[in-house]
């Protein structure tokens, strides 16, 4: 094997693309050639440094939204025919029912929009330097930080013992309002827990929805709306919400 060949093939060896026969030949050449030994070591080191660096870019959430908007919508709109069928029945009852359907559809649209905003906020937070405004694993540091920044104090609960590490807090904007985001980590995955005030004090049980590959579990409790968003699996996110709710209940009662 010549040096010219070796200088090309050594990359295939580094990339695990070389078959066993060529690999043996190449290794035999490298063993006897100082220049190729040096080049191989140099390229191996560079590859190692590159592998340890994040060189990819994250697509902006606005781009994702633009692409989504340009595609035929996944959620089928009520077809013209079914609307017409409703009117064809002609009675006041069906007209009333039709209005009810419209109201439900609108509310779902609204929730869908907020869900998509929450997911966008989560995506934004994952970009470098956007995740955390106050960095602390101590709930007694994170909680007071929100004072005066929001019209409601988000509950900040340390769940490190339960496998979800508190890493900090952040102000975010959803539905044109400032809301609190409490940030947790599960292994290398980020969980954003968004908390916003709501007029309704009724308890709404948690419900998981998926959007753009993220799981979002939302629920309502004591005048607050919660959205937990992450790329961890649905089971783990449910576990997170269960533990959070249990801890919150214990805090209130204790």
């Amino acid at each position: 094997m010549t040096c010219d060949e070796a200088q090309i093939l050594l990359h295939a060896l580094l990339d695990n693309e070389l078959d066993a026969g060529h690999a043996r030949e190449l290794e035999a050449h490298i063993a006897t050639c100082p220049a190729c030994t040096a080049e191989f070591a140099a390229q191996r080191d560079m590859k190692r440094v590159l592998a340890g660096t994040t060189l990819g870019y994250s697509a902006p959430a606005t781009l994702r939204a633009r692409i989504e908007a340009s595609m035929p919508q996944a959620r089928p709109q009520p077809s013209r025919r079914s609307v017409l069928r409703g009117f064809a029945m002609g009675s006041a009852v069906s007209a009333l029912a039709a209005t009810g359907i419209v109201a439900v559809v609108l509310r779902q649209d609204d929730q869908q929009r907020i869900l998509s905003e929450v997911v966008s906020a989560h995506l934004r937070s994952l970009q470098a330097g956007h995740l955390i405004d106050v960095v602390s694993t101590d709930q007694h540091t994170v909680k007071p930080w929100f004072n005066g920044k929001l019209d409601v104090a988000p509950p900040v609960i340390d769940l490190t013992a339960q496998g979800f590490t508190l890493v900090g807090g952040r102000l975010d904007y959803v539905d044109a309002r400032a809301i609190g985001a409490v940030v947790y980590k599960r292994r290398q995955h980020i969980i954003n827990l968004f908390v916003a005030q709501t007029a309704s004090t009724e308890h709404r049980p948690p419900k998981t929805q998926t959007m753009q590959g993220f799981n979002c579990r939302r629920w309502g409790e004591r005048g607050l709306n919660f959205w937990a968003v992450s790329d961890i699996g649905g089971d783990e996110l449910t576990e997170f919400v269960d533990k959070f709710e249990a801890a919150m209940k214990a805090n209130v009662e204790g």
Binding site: E17, A35, D45, T54, L55, G56
Partner: protein, 182 residues
């Protein structure tokens, strides 16, 4: 009903193609070196991909999307070349960059210092085409040689020699910068 066919097609496309959005965007950023041009190119790429999704036979979605993105970016290059008399990355630029240096002058290898991602991205941006593209597809997009060959429409042997050139140029640029910062 054709409308619901469209929904279903879009839904299948969404599930197959959207998970690669970051990959496609990353390649566009490196090819076009401009965030807003990259966004436009990626959106156009997804539009075209959806349009041709019926004829997509697999197996790998990522190289297929990359091949479409390359076409979009080449059109963008043509547009730029048309609107500006001279731009820095004309195809001829490859000839002006120094050939890679044999390292025989100093056989003991100098270990490269780790650099922050921004500095490395800049050095990669400085590589001439088609070497930069091949490098990004291998090192950042994690395509196999065969997939790269498919995406760029070149034989595997060409991919290998371009990759060797690209890595040698990158290392030379890296060492030059370290020399400079000493």
């Amino acid at each position: 009903m054709p409308v619901s066919d469209d929904f279903q097609k879009a839904q299948r496309f969404r599930e197959a193609a959207l998970p690669y959005l970051d990959d496609v965007y990353t390649l566009a950023r490196y090819l076009l070196r401009d965030a807003s041009d990259a966004e436009d190119a990626v959106q156009e790429c997804y539009l075209r991909a959806l349009k041709h999704f019926d004829s997509y036979r697999g197996p790998a979605m990522k190289p297929w999307l990359f091949a479409i993105l390359r076409n979009v970016c080449n059109a963008e290059y043509a547009r730029r070349a048309h609107s500006h008399a001279a731009i820095e990355d004309t195809p001829g630029a490859a000839d002006q960059t120094p050939m890679w240096q044999e390292s025989e002058a100093s056989p003991e290898t100098e270990v490269l210092r780790s650099r922050d991602a921004g500095a490395i991205r800049k050095m990669i941006d400085g590589l001439a085409e088609p070497f930069k593209e091949t490098f990004v597809l291998r090192e950042i997009s994690n395509l196999s040689y065969r997939e790269i060959a498919e995406a760029v429409g070149a034989p595997v042997g060409t991919v290998m020699s371009r990759l060797a050139r690209a890595r040698a140029m990158l290392r030379a640029a890296w060492m030059a910068e370290e020399e400079h910062s000493k």
